[in-house]
């Protein structure tokens, strides 16, 4: 078994730390001990040795940096809203926020060169991304028969030293790529790349990085393919709006992005009438009460009701709703409680009630303080809930009588109230004979006669009235004559 000091000897040998004497000791050890030889072989296998196949690849660092630069930036990504007139199902992809701030150098370039950017062909955009990441300045469109490095597949103007860094392996790789071949064959791309303004647009690491991102490239392609959309982005006002601090802040807001990405919202914005009213709605949204109201379940349920929306759309009602009195009324807790009462709600849904409320006379009555006082009385409300009374008032003659001041005064006089308080009196009014007497002028005249009234009050007459024979005698003409002779 190899001893600890011998293990140390073997290990120090692996480090190249042995002197002459120790090397001799080691040789002797290795001669006699298989275990020591095994250990030495293992440590020898660990020993410094050249890499299996030479030095690292020369372009390894460049390759690594190329992959790193192709990674998404350490930023949020934004979603663009559906273009108002876009076909259904069409959406923008996510667009990387390439700006470093409210008005970065990139945005300053874009604001003045947007027309050029958005007018390019889609293929050129994709190719450009690869081109600029590789750091290759594009050739001039004027043709020349020359080749660059190992790229011998095309006819192109020779690129000078100042255009391409000699030995730039990324550039070399790009020059041999399909993308570069397509670029040269694309007349739009060649023309655009000859534009110094266009080239200046990409004179920004941030811009190049943005174009390197697939999602950003997809969005640019979509814009470039759509004439109307490209025109929109070429509009100075639109671009200025996009670069305003407020819009920038909004575009970065998570809730805003979520809202614009919502299918229902996009469908709503696809409708012309919604877009027309959106500006007004946006003003309303500045009010926190309005926003909170829209989030309220009850309000949302009400807004789903077509009749409710119709009422809100009524200009007259809308005008009324703006009055201080009505707003105050709706703020009244009692009214709110009443409107929340199921019976009240049922009443308002009754077509007869609706018709009555539409009657100007009813409206006038409801506006009367006296009516309010009357209806505040429980007994009165109970009386008006009686079917007989409602039927009576359905009679035009009754309503006409009550509209007469004198009748009104009699019916509500203390004497009449006392008379009606008596059961027998109320029964008399139900008597057909009494009703007939009231209907006849002679009968009403008799009741109005002071002598009759005095006699009716007398106990003798009342006693005689109780006698059944008295009624029969009154029918006899001789009895009436006798009574008159007595006088």
């Amino acid at each position: 078994m190899v001893q600890p000091d011998e293990i140390d000897l073997i290990q120090r040998a692996a480090e190249g730390e042995l002197g002459a004497d120790e090397r001799a000791r080691l040789e002797a050890l290795l001669q006699r001990s298989g275990e020591a030889r095994q250990m030495a072989a293992i440590l020898d296998a660990l020993g410094p040795e050249p890499p299996p196949a030479g030095e690292p690849p020369a372009d390894a660092v460049d390759e690594i940096m190329k992959r790193i630069e192709a990674l998404p930036r350490r930023r949020q990504q934004i979603s663009m809203a559906r273009r108002p007139d876009a076909a259904p199902g069409r959406k923008f992809g996510n667009v990387a926020n390439a700006s470093a701030g409210p008005r970065s150098r990139v945005e300053e370039s874009m604001s003045s060169r947007a027309k050029v950017v958005w007018g390019i062909s889609a293929a050129a955009v994709v190719v450009l991304a690869g081109l600029w990441i590789a750091g290759v300045m594009p050739p001039s469109p004027e043709g020349a028969d020359a080749t660059i490095g190992a790229a011998k597949r095309y006819q192109a103007q020779q690129i000078g030293d100042k255009d391409v860094a000699v030995g730039d392996t990324r550039a070399q790789a790009f020059l041999q790529s399909e993308q570069f071949d397509r670029l040269l064959k694309d007349p739009n791309a060649r023309k655009m790349l000859a534009d110094t303004n266009m080239r200046g647009l990409f004179d920004s690491a941030a811009m190049r990085e943005a174009f390197a991102q697939a999602e950003f490239a997809d969005a640019v392609q979509m814009i470039a393919k759509d004439d109307a959309l490209a025109a929109m982005f070429a509009d100075g006002d639109m671009v200025a709006a996009l670069y305003s601090a407020e819009v920038q802040a909004a575009l970065k807001d998570g809730d805003f992005k979520a809202a614009f990405a919502d299918d229902a919202f996009q469908a709503a914005m696809n409708k012309a009438q919604n877009r027309a009213g959106f500006a007004d709605l946006a003003v309303a949204f500045a009010d926190v009460n309005f926003r909170e109201a829209l989030l309220n379940d009850t309000v949302q349920a009400a807004l789903k009701d077509a009749k409710f929306r119709g009422a809100l759309a009524n200009p007259e009602l809308a005008s009324q709703l703006r009055t201080r009195e009505l707003k105050g009324a709706f703020a009244d807790a009692d009214l709110q409680a009443a409107l929340g009462d199921a019976q009240v709600q049922a009443a308002f849904q009754d077509v007869d009630v609706q018709a009555a409320l539409a009657d100007p006379q009813m409206q006038a009555a409801l506006a009367s303080q006296e009516v309010h006082a009357m209806m505040a009385d429980a007994e009165t409300r109970a009386a008006f809930s009686q079917l007989a009374l409602s039927q009576a008032f359905a009679d035009d003659a009754v309503r006409a009588a009550f509209s007469q001041g004198a009748f009104y005064d009699v019916m509500f006089s203390a004497d009449m109230a006392a008379a009606l308080a008596q059961t027998r009196m109320r029964e008399a009014f139900r008597e057909a004979g009494f009703q007939s007497m009231l209907k006849s002028e002679a009968g009403r005249g008799m009741l109005a006669n002071a002598d009759v009234q005095a006699a009716l009050k007398g106990s003798a007459f009342q006693a005689a009235l109780q006698h059944d024979g008295f009624a029969a005698a009154l029918k006899q003409g001789s009895f009436a004559s006798a009574l008159s002779r007595e006088q």
């Binding site: 293992i42 660990l46 410094p48 299996p52 690594i64 940096m65 992959r67 790193i68 990674l71």
Partner: protein, 181 residues
């Protein structure tokens, strides 16, 4: 040869990377790529695999840069990532086999094939070592670091490095000993 950047340089470059300046990562790649590639090549025994693993390691490091402890050296952090990648690759290979008996012969005569096979088995055995022992083996034998550089990388005294190296080699021999078969 491993020549690290100064701590201040590393910290500055990392800070710029985290601010979004990806180009600031290039000096870190350029400085440490060779050491990491060499370690990977020796561990894996393949130039192509080492190239792929090293590239992956730098990408992962860049993406996870926010988790790098800037109080410590960047290389010690990225080396850990490399080691894990290499070990994952090694684990996917065949398990450890005992050394051939030819090693115990009075005068071992190994041709190149035997030597290559031995190196391969040694790499496999590294997977079985405890992390502290594995670190020193890899940094000493595969990254060609000096004791003081290993000490700085691992944040331990030089004496500890030597002690761990001793134990690691011994453990490696035990793992590969023919007596275990």
């Amino acid at each position: 040869m491993y020549i690290p950047l100064s701590p201040e340089e590393e910290d500055s470059l990392i800070g710029r990377c985290l601010d979004g300046d990806s180009a600031a990562f290039e000096p870190l790649v350029a400085r440490y790529h060779r050491a990491l590639f060499g370690a990977a090549a020796r561990l894996l025994g393949s130039r192509e695999e080492a190239r792929d693993v090293t590239q992956t390691v730098f990408l992962k490091a860049y993406q996870a840069l926010a988790s790098c402890d800037r109080q410590r050296r960047f290389f010690s952090w990225i080396y850990r990532i490399l080691l894990n990648e290499c070990l994952n690759t090694l684990r996917a290979r065949r398990p450890i086999e005992a050394l051939p008996e030819s090693l115990t012969a009075p005068v071992p005569r190994m041709d190149e094939v035997d030597q290559a096979e031995l190196r391969d088995r040694v790499r496999q055995a590294l997977v079985q070592l405890p992390e502290t022992q594995r670190d020193v083996i890899v940094l000493r034998h595969f990254a060609e670091m000096s004791y003081d550089q290993i000490a700085a990388t691992l944040g331990v005294p030089e004496k500890t490095v030597k002690s761990r190296l001793f134990s690691a080699r011994q453990r490696l021999c035990e793992l590969l000993s023919t007596s275990r078969t």
